[in-house]
């Protein structure tokens, strides 16, 4: 008797209940099949998330031709393609599962003749095609970039590593968003302790929403109060593949093309996958350019301030005369000049990002030149400052990882302030603090400043210089990954 009553309520109220649970969405569709005036099948789905062709041609058509049965399902139940509930299951549970499934792009098929509800995966997410990543473009090497679809991203990695040890551990994070996360690693290469650590940190995340991998990054990074990133993110599948083959762990987040990679050390931010697509001598040269650019971006404005306000005796006489001539009539102290120009430059850069693309580029270049030139003409700042700011601005973009460039910007401002207050002594104090901070930092248990401290001799083959491939260990993992594996 009770069973009959439940069957009746499913027939009459099921669609209505789902509709009210989802708040009368405009894309909710209910299609029914009638045989001799009797409703035999009801198919409910969210039109915006499904492939209607699949529903029409494979599911509904199979009912009209009477071929849809459990045994003939295209895929097994484990795959999530088909989940089946009987009418005898608790109604509340049935409805809850159906609502979740609809939101994930499934359709809920109520088969009245067999008294069951099938949840069938007919997802078709809207996504852009694979394009070259805009922030990490390359001259030589693959031009593919990740997309917002996690499955596409999985495919892009699989395409590069055709290996049965490649693992994708799935998790859902975000109480409200229920975002899919994939922890990717090579089971035979990645140290177990590292995989455990990353998994532990990921499962400890308690949050309502994850809309981008940066949400995850903030939860799993080692230290909040540090200007340096302990994870890196990339849109390039070749970079992810290279790092996975180095025994590292990647975290993919559905809905974003940015994939996280851990652990990262300080010196790894100066290397890029392109280093391995070029000849070794050129790659080494470029790596040195990056290192020089880092020091230039961080220290040049502060050294300028320190030398011109505290240590004029350090400047060669002719340069001092020239700088002094430029400063004649300038009303502000050097530190104020530098800070003013640096802030203006940051504003122009930020505005350039937000402006429509066609205007943005013009604004950033012309804005900087015109503003700098005008400020010099007006006697507000000296010409040397414009050069200093321009050099630091350009060198800031040399480092391959954008987030590392951001930390350089923060450091630059603190060093300018230190130089303005205490001259070279201040810069020295700041540099010592910085080194102390760097050696104390860890990324997922790996000392951040390795291979310099602690020193790992074999890793020097690929830090300041990039030795030719035949001289590098063909199966070589980074020293710190080897150490982690050995500890196991």
């Amino acid at each position: 008797m009770a069973r009959k009553k439940q069957n009746q309520s499913i027939k009459n109220d099921f669609f209505g209940d789902i509709q009210s649970a989802l708040g009368l969405p405009p894309d909710l569709v209910c299609r029914s099949l009638f045989v001799q005036g009797e409703q035999t099948v009801q198919c409910v789905y969210l039109e915006s998330m499904v492939n209607k062709k699949t529903i029409d041609e494979y599911i509904l058509k199979s009912f009209t031709e009477n071929t849809f049965s459990e045994g003939e399902a295209p895929l097994s139940a484990e795959s999530g393609f088909l989940r089946e509930f009987s009418f005898s299951d608790p109604y509340e549970q049935l409805r809850e599962h159906a609502v979740k499934a609809l939101l994930a792009g499934h359709c809920a098929l109520t088969d009245f003749s067999r008294e069951r509800v099938c949840l069938i995966n007919v997802t078709e997410s809207k996504q852009r095609s694979i394009e070259e990543p805009k922030s990490e473009s390359t001259i030589r090497g693959p031009h593919e970039g990740f997309t917002e679809s996690i499955l596409t991203n999985v495919g892009l990695v699989r395409k590069r590593i055709r290996n049965p040890f490649l693992r994708f551990d799935k998790m859902n994070i975000g109480n409200q968003t229920g975002t899919t996360l994939l922890m990717v690693y090579m089971e035979n290469l990645a140290p177990e302790s590292l995989v455990r650590e990353v998994r532990g940190r990921l499962s400890a995340i308690r949050t309502d929403s994850v809309l981008e991998s940066a949400y995850v990054e903030e939860f799993i990074q080692d230290r909040i109060w540090s200007p340096f990133p302990t994870l890196t993110n990339t849109e390039r599948p070749d970079m992810v593949a290279a790092q996975l083959l180095d025994g590292k762990v990647a975290v993919m987040v559905d809905g974003t093309p940015n994939v996280l990679l851990a652990p990262m050390t300080f010196f790894e931010f100066f290397s890029s996958p392109e280093d391995y697509y070029q000849r070794a001598d050129i790659a080494t040269f470029i790596r040195w350019i990056r290192l020089i650019s880092f020091f230039t971006a961080v220290f040049v404005p502060s050294l300028y301030v320190a030398a011109t306000t505290f240590h004029q005796e350090l400047i060669p006489t002719r340069l001092l005369i020239s700088l002094s001539a430029q400063r004649e009539g300038v009303p502000f102290p050097a530190i104020f000049e530098v800070l003013l120009m640096e802030v203006v430059f940051e504003i122009i850069r930020e505005a350039g990002l937000r402006m429509p693309r066609a205007v943005g580029q013009a604004l950033s270049i012309v804005g900087a030149i015109v503003l700098g030139q005008a400020a010099v003409e007006a006697g507000l700042i000296s010409a040397a400052i414009v050069i200093v700011v321009a050099i630091t601005g350009i060198t800031n973009f040399v480092v391959p990882v954008y987030s590392f460039g951001m930390s350089q910007r923060l450091l630059r401002f603190s060093f300018v302030l230190l130089a303005g207050f205490m001259g070279l002594f201040g810069i020295l104090c700041g540099a010592l603090f910085l080194v102390a901070h760097l050696v104390s930092l860890k990324s997922f248990g790996v000392p951040y400043f390795t291979p310099a401290s602690p020193s790992i001799g074999t890793d020097w083959k690929d830090v300041l210089v990039r030795l030719p491939r035949p001289w590098l260990d063909p199966n070589g993992l980074p020293g710190y990954i080897r150490n982690m594996k050995r500890k196991r």
Partner: protein, 394 residues
């Protein structure tokens, strides 16, 4: 715990106030960049005059990147007083910027001041908080004010011209020695050495201090100054002068390795020869209680600059070498006799004897009576590219 950290941090930050920091900050345009200092002292009135030559930054490039036009590249400030301390406090009666001595390149001392006592002068230089004692010291033959007010051609800043001329002379001649910095002077005077500093002389009676007029004048010998001769110093006082010929022997016998071209008379012909000292050996031995100092000079010769006579055979080369050995030994011996008569121990014989026989009862007397043997050994290494200079004889 947090409070203790905060308190600790606060105390540390308070300590930074004690550091030479913000309050020590000086912008570049608050500085008067001193390029040259001149010191004069009048023995009659006991008045000291100090000249500061200050660089005018605007004469080169201005803030807007255009030339400063007709502005003088340097300004000379003249301050007089009865002591150096007084001058230090009265300078700002005239000078609107803070004296900055770190870029001073030359120290000039007038001859009359050098003849009195230079102790106060070197102390004055050493006293400057940001001063340097690694600058060359030159003695001005003639009025100091004239040299301090001369604008030089080619190098806009006069101290640059002196600095670079001294450098070039050290490398290309035997007229100026290496040890002429203020610090060398102090060190060697304290060791009771006798030293020689270069002399500088103004070339006109009424120098033009107008830079516009100066830059329009093609004759670089007008309104200029010249480095010529040397001043001999003993115990911080100028004792006499050496001319250019004597300076060559002085520097050669003291082991300076600069190249120098000189004309010699060989077999009735004039030959210009470039000399370069390769090795000098000085040894002392005693002959009947009298010290004998034997100096052996090994020299390289080059006749690359000669147009009068080019040796063409092994025989001629040997004859030239032998003759030059003789001339060099004779002339340097004559130079030694001259300085001995004047009582100048310019070859540091005293020092040499003291090192060898530290227990000798009267080194000074022994040094005065010392016999000198000079032997030169020359080798002609380069003969130049012309075997037959153009003579117009067809």
């Amino acid at each position: 715990m947090t409070n203790r950290y905060a308190a600790g941090l606060f105390i540390l930050m308070m300590f930074t106030a004690l550091l030479t920091a913000c309050w020590d900050r000086t912008e570049m345009n608050e500085l008067a960049l001193v390029s040259m200092v001149g010191v004069d002292s009048d023995p009659e009135s006991d008045k000291i005059t100090v000249y500061y030559q200050i660089i005018n930054p605007l004469s080169g490039t201005s803030a807007k990147g255009t030339s400063g036009g007709e502005q003088a590249p340097v300004y000379t400030y003249e301050i007089s007083g009865s002591s150096f301390g007084e001058i230090k406090s009265t300078i700002y009666k005239m000078l609107p910027r803070k004296l900055f001595m770190a870029h001073c390149k030359v120290l000039l001392v007038s001859q009359r001041a050098a003849k009195q006592d230079m102790r106060d002068i070197v102390n004055f230089i050493e006293m400057q908080p940001n001063g340097r004692s690694s600058v060359p010291m030159l003695i001005v033959d003639g009025p100091l004010s004239q040299v301090m007010r001369t604008l030089t051609p080619l190098e806009r800043v006069p101290s640059d011209t002196i600095d670079s001329r001294v450098d070039l002379l050290i490398r290309n001649s035997l007229l100026v020695g290496k040890q002429i910095k203020v610090s060398d002077v102090i060190e060697r005077m304290e060791k009771l050495d006798t030293i020689v500093l270069p002399l500088i002389t103004g070339m006109t009676e009424a120098p033009s201090s107008n830079s516009g007029e100066r830059s329009a004048d093609i004759d670089a010998n007008q309104n200029n100054f010249i480095i010529r001769g040397g001043a001999v110093f003993r115990d911080y006082r100028m004792a006499g002068k050496l001319n250019d010929t004597q300076l060559v022997w002085y520097h050669l016998l003291n082991g300076d390795r600069g190249r120098h071209v000189r004309q010699f008379q060989v077999e009735g012909k004039q030959v210009s020869v470039e000399l370069r000292l390769v090795r000098i050996k000085r040894e002392v031995f005693w002959k009947s209680d009298q010290p004998v100092v034997r100096i052996r000079l090994d020299l390289e010769l080059s006749t690359a600059y000669t147009i009068e006579f080019v040796p063409k055979s092994r025989n001629e080369v040997e004859r030239l070498e032998n003759r030059l050995n003789q001339i060099i030994a004779d002339e340097s011996l004559a130079f030694y006799q001259m300085i001995r008569e004047r009582g100048w121990d310019l070859l540091s014989i005293n020092d040499l004897l003291r090192k060898q026989t530290p227990n000798h009862p009267d080194i000074d007397q022994a040094a005065k009576n010392a016999q000198i043997e000079i032997r030169a050994n020359t080798r002609l290494l380069r003969t130049g590219s012309m075997s037959q200079p153009y003579g117009g004889t067809g």
